[in-house]
Structures are given as C-alpha cells and as structure tokens.
C-alpha cells in the first residue's frame, strides 16, 4: 500500500513561475478570484482556495450554494468567467496570455486531476478492469501489461479485485463507485476531486465508499470532497470550507468548524444536519 502512495505523486511540470505568483507552485490546487455565472445567476463569487499537498478539503453548503460548480471548475468541466486555477503549479484552462488552452493541453492538465462523480459514470461497454486501464493506456501510453498490473493493485485497494471481469451493469452502486475511485487513481493524479460521491447510494452502501476515501486520506492523497456527510467530513478533513450563494463564508479546521462555527448561518446548517 505504501509503495502505491510513493508512486502517486507524479513528477510535477510547473510552468516557469511568473513574477509575483511563484508561491502557487507549492499548492496541489490554487484557486484565485474565481467567479462563474450561469446566465444571470452568479454561482461563484471571487472564490479563493488553497489545497496543500496531502491535505483533505471538504466543501459543505446547501444545494445550490455552488459547491459542485467550484469542484467542476478545478478540472475545467465548468469554465469560470474570471480567476485562475493552478494544479500543482500548472494553470488549467487558459494560457498565460489569457487565451483558452488547446484541447490537447487542457487534456494534459486534466490528466493530473482525478474525479469521482455522484452518478459513478463508469463506461458500460468496458469491464471493471478495462474501465481502470483505459485512460492509462490511451492517455498516458502505458503498456497494457503494466496498466493492468497497476489496475489490479488499485482494485484490490478498493476491494473490487474479485469483480475485475464484471461489467458495470452487474454491480451495486457502492461497487460502481469504488471502481470509479480506482479509475481516477489509475492516472496518479495530483489531486482527487469527489463530487458528492455517496449521494446516489442506498444508505447501507454509503459506508463502504466512505471507508475507501478515508483509507486514501490516511495514505496522504490530496483530495477535495463535496459532501453532505457531516461526520465523515469531520473525521477526514484537514480543512472545511462552507459555501453560501457562491461565497466562502467560513473556512476552518474541522474541530473549529464543527464545534465553534463563527457565523450564524453555519450554526443553523450544522443544527439541521446533526
């Protein structure tokens, strides 16, 4: 397990540090002045967030607060109007001259993030093993044998190696999500992004997925997690971020956040979710 973690931090290829922002190279994710609107509605307003290497950040907030949008901006599935995002020092989405990146360059930066979706989004025409090896083989150009060996290790880690030949439609929601986690890990990302990973699961299946994520945090993976699971957030986070109407209104370590919230808004939110 520990050797897996050792290979998880891929060689960073930061762009030459421009004057004044060399500090961004240290963070796994660095979000500056991010704003995003859907039509006339401002979903994110001047959001700033740093995620250090090895940290787990959970993003909380009621639905419609912009937390999923924030997460989806990090790997540019949503394009913000203003602001910058750096993944391990490398800017995503835009070139230094402010023009959109080429699709190839964007794909290359995206490959340094891994994402786990609420509805799993496995590829149904591929079996479990090939869901995990598809991107390493066709994006990173790994030899099939090597990719499969590593995929088996990852499936073992998420407790799914016994299902490597199964197709997604034969799996339970919890099993699908664990495969989806292995698929994202296979790219050896700098940061793992989880978009409400247990919201689509039957209650009795939530535990197995949260268990896997907890194990990853113990291994030192950098993760940003949007979730509604308060106990989980408290147990796993280094930092808790609370979003309200597109603004970060509170940001603290879990102990402070859950026991001594500063704002009345967060106090009410926590009371409702205890």
């Amino acid at each position: 397990m520990s050797d897996l973690h050792a290979t998880a931090g891929r060689q960073a290829t930061p762009e030459p540090p421009a004057a004044g922002n060399s500090h961004v190279t240290t963070a796994a994710v660095s979000i500056r002045n991010l704003s995003k609107s859907f039509d006339d509605v401002e979903v994110l307003r001047d959001v700033n967030l740093e995620v250090k290497q090895g940290d787990v950040v959970t993003i909380l907030g009621s639905s419609g607060s912009g937390k999923s949008t924030l997460l989806r901006c990090i790997n540019w599935l949503e394009q913000p109007e203003r602001g910058t995002i750096h993944i391990a020092g490398e800017r995503i989405g835009m070139n230094a001259d402010g023009r959109p990146m080429s699709v190839k360059a964007l794909a290359r930066v995206r490959a340094r993030t891994g994402m786990v979706f609420q509805s799993f989004n496995l590829w149904p025409h591929l079996n479990v093993l090939h869901n995990v090896t598809e991107a390493p083989i066709h994006v990173l150009g790994q030899p099939r044998q090597e990719a499969e060996a590593r995929a088996r290790e990852l499936l073992d880690k998420v407790g799914m190696s016994h299902k490597q030949d199964a197709y997604p439609n034969t799996l339970s929601g919890g099993q699908k999500q664990r495969v989806a986690i292995a698929r994202a890990l296979a790219m050896q990302p700098e940061v793992m992004l989880f978009d409400e990973p247990t919201s689509a699961l039957d209650p009795e299946l939530v535990g197995e997925v949260l268990g896997v994520i907890k194990a990853l945090s113990a291994e030192g993976y950098t993760m940003v997690i949007v979730t509604h699971e308060m106990a989980f957030s408290r147990a796993v986070s280094d930092q808790v971020v609370f979003l309200e109407k597109g603004l970060i209104i509170e940001q603290a370590d879990p102990e402070t956040f859950f026991t001594r919230p500063r704002t009345e808004r967060v106090q009410r939110f926590l009371e409702r979710h205890q």
Binding site: K104, A111, G114, F117, H138, V139, P168, N169, A180
Partner: protein, 213 residues
Amino acid sequence: MNASAWHMLLEGAWTTLWISGVSIAMGVTAGLILALIRLARVPVIDQLLVLYISLARATPLVTLALFIFLSAPTFGLQLDRNVAGILALTLNTTAFNAEIWRSAFRNFSREQREAAMATGMTPWITFRRIMLPQMVITSLPGLINEMSFLIKGSPAIAVIGIVDLTRVTNRISAVTYEPLPPILVACVLYMAIIGGLVWAQRVAERRANRLAV
C-alpha cells in the same frame, strides 16, 4: 429449371450482394462522417448537407439511379453501370444513416463524456474509445434496418441494366416460359440474405443490453 438457370440465379444473387455490400459499407461510413460534420455546425456546409439529406430521402431509388446514369455523360463522365448503381444506392442510404448516427451522438451520455474528459482524454480519444464503440452498438438496430431496406430496394438498379437477383428471374423465364420457379428461388435467396442481417441484429441487441446501466 436447369443447371444454367441455377447458375444465372446465383450470379444474380452475387451481383445483388456485392453491390449492396459495397454501398452499405460506404453508406455507413459516409453517414458517420456527415453526422460528425453536421455536429460541427459549419455555416454553409451545414445547410448544404441538410439539403442533400432531404433530397436523397425524398427521391425514389429508381429515379435516382436513372438520373445518375443518364446525367453522367452531360458532365463528361462515362459511368460504368455498376458504379452508377453503387453511387445511387450509396447516396440514398448515406442520408438515412447520417440521421441514425446523429441521433446516437445527440443521445450519448454527457456524464460518460465528462468522465472521459476528467481522465485527460482528448475529444478524439473520447470519441474513438468511449463513444464510437457504444454508438455502434446502439445504432446497429437502426443501421441494420436501413441495410435491409437497401437490399430490398436494390432491384431498382436493374433500371440501368444491371442484372441483379430480381432482374435475372426475368431473363430465365424469357427462355423457359416458367416465371414462377425462378422468382420463388429469388425470394428464398432474399430471405436468406435478410435473415443473416436479422440474426446479426439479434446478436447486437443482446450486447446492447449491457449498456443499459
């Protein structure tokens, strides 16, 4: 029917098979390419393609075959009958196939595409590795349907003098004065060809079940 009649029938069946087969292969591919181009929504080209698709879908095959064969010399082209026949069948089936592919594209899961992009796949890799394999399976019922329409419509090319499986029965009965036996055999041969397609369709549908997540 004597041996030479059987021989002629089989030759007619072969003509129908290879001309239809070539047209199907070209029509399925060209339809996919047209669907891709239409998705790009290039201004003038898009309108031209819409015009082509509605014209080709509205023109009877016989008329189209005649038009191509007879108009070619006007453009200084001396078209071989078989080439003209293949062209007519292809132009016709491409229009229908383009619509089948386009709907497969439009209905493709956005979530799966996002998952592909999130792993760092470029749009091209996403198309080739994630979308196309599934689009082939989901489109196959429609495509095979269209293939069997093409084969059943292929006697239209007899109008420009190609001796296909239907036309050959005429030739045989012109000698034997017994029209029934050859046409009966022709029916059975058509059924065998279409039967093969229906079997392929069933296999495809069984595989498609897996995609229903």
